[in-house]
């Protein structure tokens, strides 16, 4: 189906089902229960999941597939956001022109930066991209935010003001980002007994975009172009002697992944019309690297899992406070309750970084290859080691290692 083989099609369908049903899946706990803290099914976070998923999937095309570790990908996300917000300011709140401009601008940016950075490989490439991104950050943060020439509005972030031109806005146009009138923050709430499910227009828009670009990513992975990118990662020398010019391949991969980032930036601005400079900082670039590795570099859905993982901890764990802990452990005798709260306290709320750091370590130590690998191990373990034994016998003659999935 869709020009994919059976395995990829089922993967895509599963991803589609999960994203479309996310409002249910992410809200398994009834409102008001002690576990409700862990619900993630509210519009903002769901949007973030898919947007960062897009960002990471794009990044993976460059890193996982081609083997070039960019440390400056957030720059493209940032310019995408700025471009989109500028469209809001100049044209109006329809997100389509904004997102299109995000794609164009980030593509041009990626072309320029990629052209220069790809002259080097390995760590030298990484540092070049980092340097470009840090320069972009500094430009956005201070140089381009001076009152005379304010393109970015510095630390506060670029916002839409009521006195902006917004030439395409009619008197009745919505004053929030919308797609031809469909407001991105429109949410339909469904109450089912104690459960509350939220269906948000913006989320579904992002989800559909994500499915499209994941589909595109699968096509790229399975295409001759994708094969060449993997070849670049494996042995660039040999590629040259095989008559292939690696530069256009790497540059194309760079631009494509830059545009994925730009798209993510544009979507971010469309969900929440503010573009902050810190989106371009190295920490943001580092975050997408972590997402990709955490999920499994070179795998198709790994980066999305990684993005979800990090965003979940950032948004859910940072919001748990002692008060909540006391509620959880309320059933215990007082001294035990206090002891438990004392023990757990460093890991939640302001300690969410600590938890995340520990989890990073645990994941790499115990699941080399990332969450996807972990999942596969789990599946194998569930299926029992009967097959493993068989495989071991066979492995002697054929070690069939399936390529990235």
């Amino acid at each position: 189906m869709f020009g994919l083989d059976k395995k990829d099609t089922s993967l895509l369908i599963i991803v589609a089902i999960i994203t479309l049903l996310a409002p249910f899946i992410l809200n398994p706990f009834p409102e008001g229960s002690a576990m409700a803290q862990f619900n993630a099914g509210y519009p903002d976070l769901m949007q973030r999941f898919v947007i960062f998923g897009i960002f990471a999937v794009g990044f993976n095309i460059l890193f996982g597939l081609t083997g070039y570790l960019s440390f400056g990908h957030a720059a493209f996300l940032g310019v995408g956001s700025y471009a989109c917000v500028w469209m809001f300011k100049l044209l109006g709140y329809n997100i389509l022109p904004g997102i299109l401009l995000s794609l164009v601008v980030s593509g041009i940016f990626a072309l320029g930066i990629g052209y220069v950075s790809l002259r080097r490989s390995g760590i030298y490439f990484s540092i070049l991209t980092l340097a470009f991104a840090q320069m972009s950050f500094a430009l956005a943060y201070s140089v381009l935010s001076n009152p005379k020439f304010n393109l970015t509005n510095g630390e506060t972030g670029l916002q839409v003001y009521t006195d902006d031109p917004q030439v395409l806005m009619g008197p009745n146009s919505p004053t929030v980002p919308n797609l031809f009138g469909l407001e991105m923050n429109a949410t339909y709430k469904l109450e089912l007994g104690p459960w509350l499910f939220q269906f948000n227009a913006g989320y579904y828009f992002c989800a559909i975009v994500m499915l499209l670009v994941v589909y595109l990513a699968i096509r790229i992975f399975r295409s001759p172009f994708g094969l060449m990118l993997r070849a670049v990662k494996s042995n660039q020398q040999r590629m040259g002697y095989t008559g292939l010019n690696t530069r256009p391949y790497t540059l194309a991969a760079f631009v494509i992944s830059g545009m994925y980032a730009g798209l993510a930036g544009g979507l971010m601005a469309s969900m929440d019309p503010l573009a902050g400079a810190e989106r371009m900082q190295w920490t943001a670039s580092g975050e997408v690297v972590l997402m990709t590795i955490l999920g499994g570099a070179g795998t198709l859905i790994g980066p999305i899992l990684g993005a979800g993982f990090i965003k979940y901890f950032e948004n859910i764990f940072s919001k748990i406070n002692d008060n909540v802990l006391h509620q959880w452990f309320a059933f215990m005798p007082d001294w035990m309750e206090n002891a438990m709260v004392f023990i757990v306290h460093p890991f939640i709320g302001k300690g969410w970084h600590l938890t995340l750091g520990l989890l990073f370590m645990l994941v790499v130590i115990f699941l080399p290859g990332g969450l996807v690998e972990g999942g596969q191990k789990l599946m194998r373990w569930i299926r029992g080691d009967r097959r493993k034994k068989k495989a071991a016998e066979k492995a002697k003659s054929t070690t069939t290692t399936e390529p990235a999935e």
Partner: protein, 340 residues
């Protein structure tokens, strides 16, 4: 002119910090081939060794002063450090005053231990893993270390002043008849950095240790075949790198008060320094450290910032880009180190 020279000094000073951190980082990153994102955290822990010693020396017993009240209106508890009561107020106060230099003695074993533990417990398993995995695990570790320090010491900077005698400014230009007042402690820092750098170079240059480690990095397996226990040497190397980072941190405290995320502030720039210097080259790292330090200082002068606004924030990166584009392997990089 004086202003110019002053900025040279500032650059040297900044460069010292960059060079020291980059030196340790190169040992691990350029030589062992491990991308150590926790290196900044080691620098930070070094600084907190000084904080800890200062705290320990300031451990006090409380006496109640009935004549004064605290903020709640209760009688005020007056604290007297134990050292002052043991050694007498004079000597005690001097010991406390010299807390930072004294903490070098504490930091060396502590950092070595941390380095060894880190290598044996964690990094060891990652030599053969992809760089991506190394990044993830060391970054995780950096966060954990940082958060533990924050849990203990809070997020705000903590003053670790230099000894009274080394406070204030000295006129370093006096010899050549210039008026160049410069903070004494910064001069101390520069000299200290020079000594450490020299010591590390000497160790690696005049011992076969350096050669073995280089060989081990290129091909661990073969070095093992030649009967050399390369693991142990890597461990020592790691401990050394941690100690260098830690010492750089200890001595940095009096320049800028340590806080839990000072390591991260340095980390990215240190990576830039190492790579601009050229992978696998210690002199390159040191040279790039000083070069970028001086550049940064110049770019921050009033003249530069008013001529080209924002130049101070982009200059390092701009120069890094130019260097990397004109010299494929940074200033003095070796071929084949982390080029894929």
């Amino acid at each position: 002119m004086d202003g110019f020279l002053l900025q040279v000094l500032n650059g040297l000073d900044k460069g010292s910090a960059y060079a020291l951190i980059a030196l340790g980082l190169t040992l691990i990153f350029g030589t062992l081939g491990v991308v150590n994102f926790a290196h900044g955290a080691l620098f930070m822990i070094g600084a907190f060794c000084a904080v800890t010693l200062q705290r320990v020396l300031n451990l006090s017993f409380e006496t109640i002063d009935e004549t004064k009240t605290d903020f709640l209106g209760n009688p005020l508890k007056v604290k007297t450090p134990y050292v002052e009561s043991w050694f007498g107020p004079e000597v005690g106060a001097t010991i406390i005053d010299w807390a930072v230099p004294l903490s070098i003695l504490l930091a060396i074993p502590v950092m070595l231990l941390i380095g060894l533990a880190m290598e044996r417990g964690l990094i060891k398993h990652f030599y053969k893993r992809p760089h991506a995995d190394q990044i993830l695990v060391t970054f995780g570790l950096a966060i954990v270390l940082q958060e533990i320090i924050k849990l203990w010491f809070g997020a705000n900077p903590i003053q670790t002043p230099p000894p009274e005698a080394l406070m204030g400014v000295a006129n370093v230009g006096a010899i050549v008849g210039l008026d160049l007042p410069y903070p004494i402690w910064r001069i101390v820092y520069f000299c200290f950095a020079a000594i450490i750098i020299f010591a590390v170079f000497a160790f690696l240059q005049f011992t076969t240790f350096g050669m073995v480690v280089r060989a081990g990095m290129a091909d661990r397996e073969t070095v093992g075949l030649l009967g050399i226990n390369i693991d142990r040497r890597f461990t020592i190397m790691f401990g050394m790198a941690a100690a260098v980072a830690g010492l750089a941190g200890v001595m940095y405290g009096p320049i800028n008060p340590p806080n839990y995320h000072m390591g991260m502030d340095f980390l990215v720039l240190s990576f830039v320094v190492v790579v601009v210097g050229g992978m696998g080259s210690l002199p390159g790292a040191v040279l790039a450290g000083f070069l970028l330090g001086i550049l940064e200082s110049f770019a921050s002068t009033t003249w530069a910032t008013t001529t080209i606004p924002g130049i101070n924030q982009i200059i390092i990166y701009l120069v890094a880009i130019i260097v990397l584009l004109t010299r494929p392997r940074g200033l003095m990089g070796r071929k084949g180190v982390m080029e894929e």
